[in-house]
Symmetry: C2
Subunit: 340 residues, 2 copies
């Protein structure tokens, strides 16, 4: 085995023979499908009937591998979940790699295989890709961008903008919060913390669409990624004619995650999730929907955590465990860089 | 003006207040459109009638600004052109930014404004975006990924795979080659070369679709980016039942570009272009199509440079200026890293 077979060279991004070999031996082998096999400048994906949703995310997580996932799984799940919370069924994704010269081919293969597994689970085909290689020291290992397109069924077309949310609706979170951020942080080994925390990173479209098919009272969903549950709730309430009240005692946080947050001074409400969504739903369906989510492998910890109120429009408030009330603000600054 | 208004901080990528301010003050101001203003996790773009094409590219060009363009213009043109050569009319693009902490806000604004101008010229709306910020020293300034979707009119659906190419077809190049690579290299000031070379970087979809509407004999197109004209021709001929013969004297190369290539030991056939395409066309329409291209602002140097032959299938050969014949190979290794 010569060096060009076990490490990435600048030539792998040059568009010549090495690029073609990398595409054939790595990307086609894991992602291979009739659209990629066209090897055209654009993937021709045929017709998509219905309203189309389009999204993109770049991923720069450090370290690249962490309990519960890696940058490849994250890159697929992040984009699939962004589509799913808007009511779209993910159809196709793109994968753009920026790789540092010298990066191990085995690590790249683990990442690509992980992307292939996640996209297969989500039912989203990788229809286009790109690889750039930069000199050693000018990018940290590998960065991945994914874009995704999906189709929104007619019944779910007003899910994306929050316009259906009404006073009295309940707020559900689909599982314990803050696991992803704490799992990645623990994996860095910088803080002398080792914790048995596993990222929640998962493709949620299957669970989300099964829920939407059963519960027409779902008004709005969003995945609670960067900025955590706090940022998502503040975004939703901002400039709206309603407020949101959360009951702290009902917000699910695993013991190990809470302990790590306490020790390091993080508010779990601000810590990123990658497989946990917040759902606004008609109060009459909230209990059944939460129970339905708990029956799903990715919704085991689902709980009703609060409700939409006519008081203090635009604000998110939390009834604390000791009975007080505090305002939840949009997180300021950067607590946890490179978490996704 | 405080520091957070003129330099990028980690907090601008954290999903909290600074991220929202950056989106509002920078991205919405330049890209603003009804889809982005939804501020949903995915842009809802409505229905697209017809066959859909999907593509992605990441851009890591160094330096970020060069004569004729910058990373922003390049990121839009690269994706728009990939769609257009497959016959697709670009409709929507996504923009994913990975930005180094400390990057100048003014430079970011120049780049974003340049993307907005190019996407406006191309008629492609920015429908989704993402910003990540990484620590100083872990990414070189800014990297941009774009993905694009377009619609392929029924008449142009077999353009993308080369299946229509036939023996006797002519090969046209839409302008002088190697300008982009040499312009970027000269802008680095590393080689002590200063040359009056301007990148060909341009959105070609308008020119391409005007040509397709007039000339039904166009069989195949591809933009001659990384690896240059040589890589594109080799890719097209590979495993095909035909060969390609190019006449070196007819391949347009500007004097300054040729001089710089000669001095530095580059073959212009291997140097990247960002606004130059190769076209395979029925011989009966080749002269008129080349003349039509020359009447367009982005096709001024268009020329018929060769033809498809039944001899030596799978091979690309060049009749040299001194009357010999040499084989054009896929470029090996990396001559010019970070050119796009």
């Amino acid at each position: 085995m010569n060096d060009s077979t076990h490490r990435i060279h600048l030539g792998h991004g040059a568009g010549g023979r090495l690029t073609h070999e990398l595409i054939g031996s790595m990307f086609m082998r894991h992602f291979g499908n009739p659209i990629l096999l066209q090897r055209a400048d654009a993937g021709i994906i045929g017709q998509l009937n219905g309203t189309i949703a389009l999204t993109t995310d770049s991923f720069v997580v450090r370290p690249l591998f962490f309990p519960g996932g890696d940058i490849g799984k994250l890159a697929v799940c992040g984009t699939v979940n962004d589509l799913a919370v808007c009511g779209a069924r993910p159809a196709y994704i793109t994968a753009g790699f920026i790789i540092e010269e010298g990066f191990g081919m085995n690590d790249l293969e683990r990442i690509v295989a992980s992307m292939a597994a996640a996209s297969s689970e989500a039912g989203a085909m990788v229809a286009a890709g790109d690889t750039k290689v930069v000199e050693h020291g000018t990018c940290d290992g590998v960065f991945i961008n994914t874009a995704g397109i999906g189709v929104v069924p007619a019944a779910w077309q007003s899910l994306h903008d929050g316009s259906r949310i009404a006073i009295g609706d309940k707020v559900i979170v689909s599982g314990p919060i803050a696991d992803h951020g704490m799992a990645v942080l623990a994996a860095r080994n910088e803080m002398g913390v080792s914790a048995p925390i596993v990222s929640d990173c998962a493709p949620l479209n299957g669970m989300i669409h099964a829920m939407l098919e059963r519960f027409d009272g779902v008004k709005f969903m969003r995945d609670a990624t960067r900025g955590g549950l706090a940022a998502v709730l503040c975004e939703i309430a901002e400039k709206k004619p309603f407020g949101v009240i959360i009951d702290e005692r009902r917000v699910p946080v695993r013991d190990a995650t809470r302990a790590m947050c306490d020790m390091l001074g993080f508010d779990p409400m601000h810590v990123a999730n990658e497989g946990t969504i917040v759902i606004f739903i008609d109060a009459r369906q909230a209990h059944d929907a939460a129970a339905f989510l708990r029956s799903h492998r990715y919704g085991g910890g689902a709980a009703i955590i609060g409700e939409v109120t006519g008081q203090q429009p635009g604000m998110v408030r939390m009834r604390t465990a000791i009975g007080g009330m505090r305002i939840i603000d949009m997180p300021e600054g950067e607590l946890l860089p490179r978490i996704c």
